[in-house]
Symmetry: C3
Subunit: 140 residues, 3 copies
Amino acid sequence: MFAAHSSEFVYRTKGKGTYEITGRVSEVVRASNVQTGLVNVFVRHTSASLVLFENADPTARQDLERFFAQLVPEDAKYFSHTLEGPDDMPSHIRMALTRTSESIPVAFGQLQLGTWQGLFLYEHRDQGSDRSIVVTILGN
Amino acid sequence: MFAAHSSEFVYRTKGKGTYEITGRVSEVVRASNVQTGLVNVFVRHTSASLVLFENADPTARQDLERFFAQLVPEDAKYFSHTLEGPDDMPSHIRMALTRTSESIPVAFGQLQLGTWQGLFLYEHRDQGSDRSIVVTILGN
Amino acid sequence: MFAAHSSEFVYRTKGKGTYEITGRVSEVVRASNVQTGLVNVFVRHTSASLVLFENADPTARQDLERFFAQLVPEDAKYFSHTLEGPDDMPSHIRMALTRTSESIPVAFGQLQLGTWQGLFLYEHRDQGSDRSIVVTILGN
């Protein structure tokens, strides 16, 4: 029967960077027993985001981090939202430029990711923290 | 019973900037009586977009606007799509860098947004206009 | 009856640039006979992406391409993920800055796109290749 399965988990990050959560989401999909449908993964924060990214070679993620450090500098003179430190405003912008949620197709009971695709939680603050992630599976 | 609820509303913007529509979308979700599922909010335009963003401190959104003004300058020499003025092409790029639709989980009859998350319509043209927004709720 | 319809097609690109797939996705939606719901289009790659973009004037897409060529230069000194050539790492970043999947509402049996919106497969590698695209329709 077609249904919606909603659950939530917390991932503790250790500062700026990407953390793979593909396995964690796969488990939730398997437990739901959904064969065909869609899973939506949603981060409940404004200074962390999600990105589907190359998961074979770690240098790709290091380069992504360097790119964002240059694209959204911490010392931009025009920033006024700086109460929580120089990484505060850049964290919101980096979030806006990536994704708050990703939707991934499910078929034959499995995430239909490509060979090199992994789902990453992207932490944009210097200090890590507990990040709440909602997983919603729609299917049957 | 699991169902899809589709509706549309128009929001009149007043020029470049972010306009919170969280309340409007919440009302549509409440009216649908869906307890568990997903809501997709979709902007039917190529010079406006959506972004889930920090909604407590307005300076965060001002800084976002300044960042985009620098990232996508109106006077780029290589722009050829300029028929509607200098804000024409940048509006399309700013849209591509943010999101045409956002999907937000619904549980216990409510949007599962984090404490600081608000949904914003992001207008990229100098002159405001009527923006059509489609809300699709999937759930039961 | 509410159901999920999953299918996949392959699109052969011919190098960097945008390729409209609106028609192809519309056909899949029509064949599903779904009247109300949501369609998710998902690219199973990390060096190609999707973007909903202005589809009337081709110069808009040329300017988008020029913008990304400047934003993500191929010769960034800090790139270390360069095994497959200078377009390798930029392709992943360009993908991260656009979208791996787009969700589009379906109502009255049709994609609810705006007048100027087209769905484009965005190839980020110099050499074209076969790109797998999963289409998931949820609705009834």
